[in-house]
């Protein structure tokens, strides 16, 4: 089990990690998600021992790894650009860690073959790594970090340099492979779809802090802060003008919340919009500014009262959908008004 306790680190005057703590259970895949420069890669490097934190500790299986040099930690780390050794062939790259452990050549070869077939590269042993395709390199890098049977597997944007279609396929494969070997894994990415597909739990990072921790569903459906919502592409954020015990008032109307105290803003989650009859009590009325056909749905941009812009999708099979310039009324399903707490209430 991995535990990170209150880690702080600065590069010169620039704070990169401002006191972060996490715990990952045996066999869990935890994903660090955030924009570039948020400190997610640095946190991996601290755990790997490539950076030394100014404060805080990393504990594995109850023992601190502070003072244990990189090469003795027994963790696996897969780099964004793969960092395959150009002077070694595929099998030797994969067996490198085993060789460092002093494992016999016969055993190394057996293990390399085993891991290579696990990642779907059986028969690639003698290939030159420079001549592999991007996806093949990625698999070799994964095999190399898996081969020594690391206590903890860390992956730093492992699909970052591949094209979108390949990414979509590989992320599912990686999850299956990690689950098959049953390792605890930390996965760093800036791509929410990748994070949703691979993670048991997601940590959203911003400026060296954790903004929200939760299951992919919870993070997506109930973002804790305006930053998280925006980062996930959920932009219908309205400031709260007034709040009562369990209601908030915004520029486009009143909404019911379980606890309304302290709420500074709400997210009108785009997945909760439905067409409504004009003039009905809960309806939000406005003018269609943009209508984009997406195949299975239309994306609408609606200009509602007070100049507020709302974006949402409606299924393409819905009766008649208004054209650009026409008036439109929508309503929001009750559970899709999400209270946002600014910087407070980080843990979700």
């Amino acid at each position: 089990m991995l535990e990170v306790r209150d880690v702080e680190l600065s590069f010169g005057d620039l704070p990169v990690l401002r006191g972060v703590s996490l715990a990952a259970a045996e066999g869990e895949i935890v994903c660090l998600l955030g924009p570039s420069g948020c400190g997610k890669t640095t946190l991996l490097r601290v755990i790997a021992g490539l950076e030394t934190p100014a404060h805080g500790d990393v504990i594995f299986d109850g023992r601190s790894v502070r003072g244990v040099p990189v090469h003795r930690r027994g963790f696996g780390l897969m780099f964004q650009d793969f960092a395959l050794f150009p002077h070694l062939d595929v099998a030797r790259n994969v067996a490198f860690g085993l060789r460092m452990m002093g494992i016999s050549a016969v055993e190394r070869q057996r293990r390399a073959q085993e891991v290579l077939s696990l990642v779907g590269l059986a028969g690639f042993e003698r290939r030159d790594v420079a001549k592999l395709s991007g996806g093949e390199k990625q698999r070799v890098a994964l095999a190399r970090s898996l081969a020594p049977n690391p206590r903890l597997l860390m992956l730093d944007e492992p699909l970052g340099s591949l094209d979108a279609a390949l990414r979509e396929r590989l992320v599912i494969e990686i999850r299956e492979i990690i689950k098959q070997v049953g390792r605890t894994a930390l996965y760093v990415t800036h791509d929410q779809h990748e994070a949703f597909a691979i993670a048991d739990r997601i940590i959203i990072m911003n400026e060296g802090r954790f903004e929200q921790v939760g299951t992919p569903e919870a993070v997506y459906r109930r973002p804790a802060s305006a930053f998280v919502a925006r980062f996930l592409g959920l932009n219908n954020i309205l400031p709260v003008a007034a709040r009562a015990e369990n209601r908030v008032r915004t520029a486009v109307g009143q909404f019911r919340l379980e606890v309304a105290a302290d709420v500074e803003a709400v997210l009108l989650h785009p997945d909760g919009f439905q067409p409504a009859a004009a003039g009905s009590p809960e309806a939000i009325a406005g003018q269609v500014e943009r209508r984009v056909f997406l195949g299975d749905a239309y994306q609408f941009q609606l200009r509602a009262g007070d100049g507020v812009q709302l974006t949402f999708k409606l299924a393409a099979q819905a009766e008649r959908l208004p054209q650009v310039g026409e008036n439109m009324s929508v309503r929001l399903l009750p559970d899709y008004v999400v209270p946002l707490n600014g910087r407070r209430g980080v843990k979700g």
Partner: protein, 565 residues
């Protein structure tokens, strides 16, 4: 009237003119490079007009020549190994750490490249020679009668000077290759359990292999052809092929033997140049651009590593040069004096020279100016010849024009005295031989400085100018010239500096009444007495200043990424 007929007639006239102009460098190369080379071939293979290979047989059978060849190779191998070993930590520091004045230090480290061998030999003699600063200091400190540091005429001093010369070459090649390698590879290896020597042996060295081989081959070539350093500092005990060629010619007048040795030398050089070209291509192909891993040294160990390397570089670079300046004012040991500089103007009776030493400064300047003009003119034409788009010629002309760079100066000088001293081309009595030889050595530098700039002019630029009404001459004057001027000036300064410091060829062909500065320094260094020694150092200081100024000009004008030499 400008009719179509007139125009095509003009083109007909211009065509031969154009090709005639392009022929000039070819004719120059044929007369002053290939003709002497062929003469060496003739004298070496058929000394008496009849095919006669006894010279070669002697090289193979005689223990003396086998030893000379063996020593040439062994000292080059040792120098190369030592240089790479010392430059490796430096390259690491420059590839991985960011620190103040980094680019200035890198530029300074390259200074030895333009320093003439005689100056460097004089500088090391002023530092660690029997009359050098170190020995004088130790003698007065410990009250000794004889100099305790005996480095002159040892293999050690030859190796030290070779490191001095080639450290920056290795540092640049290895450092820039290293900086382009993905730093994550090392981290990946560490995460997988590699540390200490295993990290060096299993990751760093294999990854650097192409750069190590390229740098090693280049340093080997430079030290294999070492002439001035071995001749001056090595004494009679040591001789490289180059030194032996000189001795066979100047001391023993055994021209067939010198020719045979020259042919061995040329053959080996061609093989090594071919190897180097292949190596260099590989370093260029393997460059992987990676996220910059350069950062300031933070840990105490990193700071010590950076500081230690910079200290080593500074001591190695500045100690001999400062010693040279200091000793040029204190050579006799009787305190500060400008006497040796004043003596340069005097024609001392019984001197080894026929003229006041200061005359050599004038000679060198005149020769260097002539060389600059010739090298720039011929180099410029060559650049146009080589940069013609879609030309089948360019591909094999390029290496052809670089050949003089692969030929040692001693071979060239030897070829001149056996080829150009008799009809049809008797120039022995003429002082033009020196600028001609220097032009051959300098021209590749001009070509290498200008060619990248010329190649960067896309065909659209002159086309646009022509559409806007510029005549061919105006196109050249207002488009080409401004774009290549920087490279042209760098090339010109290179040519000037190379000519000022050229020693190997000049020693063969300089006439007694028109010696150059390096030749005078060499003659003075070979004479006993504090006066001669002091004058040698004084003149070395003057030559060093000229070359250092040239070096500063080159470094300031050189654009980033311009050809490595």
């Amino acid at each position: 009237m400008d009719t179509g007929l007139d125009r095509s007639r003009a083109a007909l006239i211009r065509l031969p003119l154009r090709y005639g102009l392009l022929l000039v460098p070819a004719v120059f190369l044929a007369l002053f490079y290939f003709y002497p080379l062929v003469s060496i071939l003739a004298v070496g293979l058929a000394p008496g007009g009849q095919p006669d290979l006894t010279g070669f047989a002697e090289i193979v059978t005689s223990a003396y020549y086998r030893h000379t060849l063996g020593f040439t190779l062994a000292q080059a191998a040792l120098s190369t190994a030592l240089t790479l070993l010392l430059a490796l930590p430096g390259a690491y520091v420059f590839a991985r750490y960011d620190f103040q004045a980094k680019s200035l230090l890198m530029a300074l480290a390259t200074l030895p490249f333009v320093l003439p061998t005689v100056v460097v030999a004089a500088a090391f003699s002023a530092l660690v020679g029997p009359r050098g600063l170190v020995n004088e200091g130790l003698m007065s400190l410990l009250g000794l009668e004889s100099p305790p540091v005996q480095l002159e005429r040892t293999l050690a001093i030859i190796l030290i000077v070779h490191v001095f010369y080639n450290y920056a070459v290795a540092l640049r090649i290895i450092g820039s290759y290293w900086a382009n390698q993905n730093p994550r590879m090392e981290e990946a290896a560490r995460v997988l359990g590699a540390a200490g020597w295993r990290l060096w042996w299993e990751i760093r060295l294999p990854i650097l292999r192409p750069a190590l081989l390229a740098a090693g081959t280049l340093v080997f070539i430079f030290t294999f052809t070492s002439f001035g350093v071995v001749l001056i500092l090595g004494g009679p005990r040591f001789a490289t092929l180059e030194v032996e060629i000189y001795r066979q010619t100047a001391n023993l007048l055994n021209l067939p033997m010198a020719a045979a040795l020259s042919l061995v030398q040329i053959g080996l050089m061609l093989v090594m140049m071919a190897i180097y070209t292949r190596m260099q291509r590989r370093t260029a192909a393997d460059v992987v651009s990676a996220a910059s891993a350069v950062r300031p040294p933070r840990s105490r160990r990193a700071r010590a590593l950076v500081f230690g390397n910079l200290l080593f570089m500074a001591v190695m670079l500045f100690a001999p040069l400062l010693a040279l300046v200091a000793r040029s004012f204190t050579a006799g040991g009787e305190g500060f004096t400008t006497r040796y500089y004043e003596l340069l103007f005097a024609n001392v009776r019984g001197s080894v020279l026929f003229v006041p030493p200061m005359r050599a400064v004038g000679n060198s300047l005149v020769f260097a100016l002539a060389t600059t003009v010739l090298a720039v003119a011929l180099g410029l034409i060559t650049v146009y010849l080589l940069s013609q788009r879609g030309s089948r010629w360019a591909n094999w002309l390029d290496p052809l024009f670089m050949l003089p760079l692969a030929t040692s100066a001693v071979t060239l000088g030897f070829g001149y005295i056996i080829a150009l001293d008799e009809p049809p081309l008797n120039l022995r009595a003429s002082p033009v031989l020196i600028p001609l030889a220097h032009t051959l050595v300098a021209m590749p530098f001009v070509v290498r400085s200008v060619l990248p700039a010329k190649r960067s002019i896309t065909p659209h630029l002159p086309e646009a100018a022509r559409v806007l009404g510029a005549s061919p001459w105006q196109v050249w004057r207002f488009i080409d010239l401004p774009l290549i001027s920087r490279g042209l000036i760098v090339g010109a300064v290179f040519a000037f500096t190379v000519s000022m410091g050229e020693f190997g060829a000049s020693l063969f062909i300089a006439r007694p009444d028109t010696p150059t500065m390096p030749v005078v320094i060499f003659r003075l260094l070979g004479q006993p007495g504090a006066a001669n020694y002091g004058q040698a150092l004084a003149m070395s200081v003057l030559l060093m200043v000229v070359c250092a100024v040239g070096f500063i000009l080159i470094e300031r004008l050189r654009t980033v990424g311009m050809g490595e030499f």
